[in-house]
Amino acid sequence: MSGGRPPGFTVGVPRLVLGGRLLFENFRLRIEAGRWTCVLGPSGVGKTTLLRLIAGLLPGALVVTDDGRPLAGRLALMAQQDLLLPWLSVLENALLGWRLRGERRSRAAELEGSARELLARVGLAGREDDLPQALSGGMRQRVALARTLMERRPVVLMDEPFSALDAITRHRLQDLAARLLAGHTVVMVTHSPLEALRLGHRILVLRGRPVQVSEVSAPESPIPRDPGDPALLAREAELWRVLAASAGAEEDESCAPFSARS
């Protein structure tokens, strides 16, 4: 991984109104360096908006990193949709970032070699020249994971990256991502308490309007954790209670049509 040691950072949002609704006010969140932070919360609470604010896709947030350098250029994004370009091969998709930055030809061989290696590690050896349409949903998301890793960026933002997959595929990809992203600073939005408990060093629940953060203690064991672990299951019940309570707080809002993504 290039781009230096993964930084921790603090996001501050003084005030953000989207679609006529006050989402954030005096919001502050600390993201620890080199750890997985999982963000849960009811739909429409502002989870995706928070990621977009950190990524700089939405203005209005102040991100202060530990090392004082800006976050821009040091983060990669992985969304719920794989966002593969259908006209590019699997290999070309994995190299998309370098292609879009107009990387010099002298590095092409090195980059391609490393992309092939990454694709092999996500189990796609031999599929490098296929078009995305020839792949299953799980395979496509693995290409997206390879593309994210290929960016070699210390901070990775993930927005429900595995939610469109079937249970088995999701389980495997969680393991894979935990292994390959070890040491990165990861912020992952999810709506699955179990996923948060498997992968999160920290588990945060967003609720209310403007958004409040509450932290649920995560297990101490290393990730990815075994979903059969009794400690995990006990906490899952607790997490469900917190989530149900936070959703209840939204109840009167849920009648209003919302335009912003969750």
């Binding site: 977009r52 990524a55 700089g56 896709l57 821009a72 250029g73 983060l75 990669a76 994004l77 969304a79 949709q81 966002l83 370009l85 259908p86 006209w87 998309l96 970032g97 292609r99 879009l100 930055r101 107009g102 078009l131 349409q133 020839a134 960016e151």
Partner: protein, 261 residues
């Protein structure tokens, strides 16, 4: 095989009906010739039809090529230059309301009786569907892709040529298909207004001399040309957007048979 045979059988059936109707009603051949007579004329007037058909074909192909290039270039420059877009886009939309055919006499006046005025006519007709379809495609890029590119610190020109343009190629393809369908109309209208050669000219002349059989013969050559042009364009477009599969049930193109290279 069946997909070729079926329309041919339908056409043969219609021609047979036509033949029967003419024979039964006794309509004189200078009003409505039977298809057998048209076929005979096609054979006899072959060299004449070939000579004029070639002129029309050249006009259509030139018009198609120039119109497509100009249309695509116009769409690209509108997408590249926002100020240009603000000034020109409303004009582009409004100009589509002008019936281009009405300009044909002017074009003949300006560019003469030769091939130039017909090519210009075809270019004008082709330009708008290509330009508007491509431009529409260029501005409807999936926002997810653009955000991904932004987080990747992509260069703007790279985004245009690596993401926006390829994503707009299916739309450009639709524009080109429409263009292929209207291109022969442009050339023939140009020839009707004033020409010394070409299928349109030949039809007009034959019509005046009550050689309706020759009119139909020229018309069938024109139809063949138009059909061939459309098929050719369709093939080229399918190759251009190689990643798109036809998904309508029972579509003519076998999705598995299409090249993915």
């Amino acid at each position: 095989m069946r997909t070729v045979l079926r329309p041919l059988l339908t056409a043969a059936g219609l021609l047979a009906l036509w033949e029967l109707a003419v024979r039964a009603s006794g309509v004189p051949p200078y009003i409505l010739p039977p298809p057998s007579r048209v076929l005979a004329t096609l054979w006899q007037a072959g060299p004449l039809l070939a000579e004029h058909g070639l002129i029309t074909l050249i006009e259509i192909l030139l018009g198609m090529a120039i119109g497509a290039v100009l249309g695509a270039a116009a769409a690209l420059s509108l997408a590249l230059l926002p100020p240009l877009r603000r000034w020109l886009e409303p004009v582009l939309v409004a100009s589509q309301a002008i019936p281009v055919f009405a300009l044909a006499p002017l074009l003949v006046l300006w560019l003469g009786y030769g091939i130039g005025s017909k090519v210009a006519m075809a270019v004008l007709i082709i330009f708008f569907p290509v330009a508007t379809a491509f431009f529409d495609g260029l501005r409807r890029t999936d926002p997810g892709w653009l955000e991904l590119a932004r987080v990747m610190d992509a260069k703007p020109l790279r985004v245009l040529f690596e993401i926006r343009v390829p994503a707009a190629l299916p739309a450009l393809g639709s524009g080109l298909r429409v263009a292929a369908a209207v291109a022969p109309i442009g050339a023939v209208i140009g020839e009707w207004v004033g020409a010394s050669r070409g299928l349109g000219y030949l039809m007009l002349h034959a019509n005046a001399r009550l050689r309706v059989d020759l009119v139909f013969a020229a018309l069938s050559v024109l139809a063949l040309l138009a059909l061939a042009l459309f098929r050719l364009t369709d093939r080229l477009v399918a190759r251009l957007v190689y990643w798109q599969r036809e998904t309508l049930p029972g579509s003519v193109h076998d999705p598995e048979g299409r090249s993915l290279a």
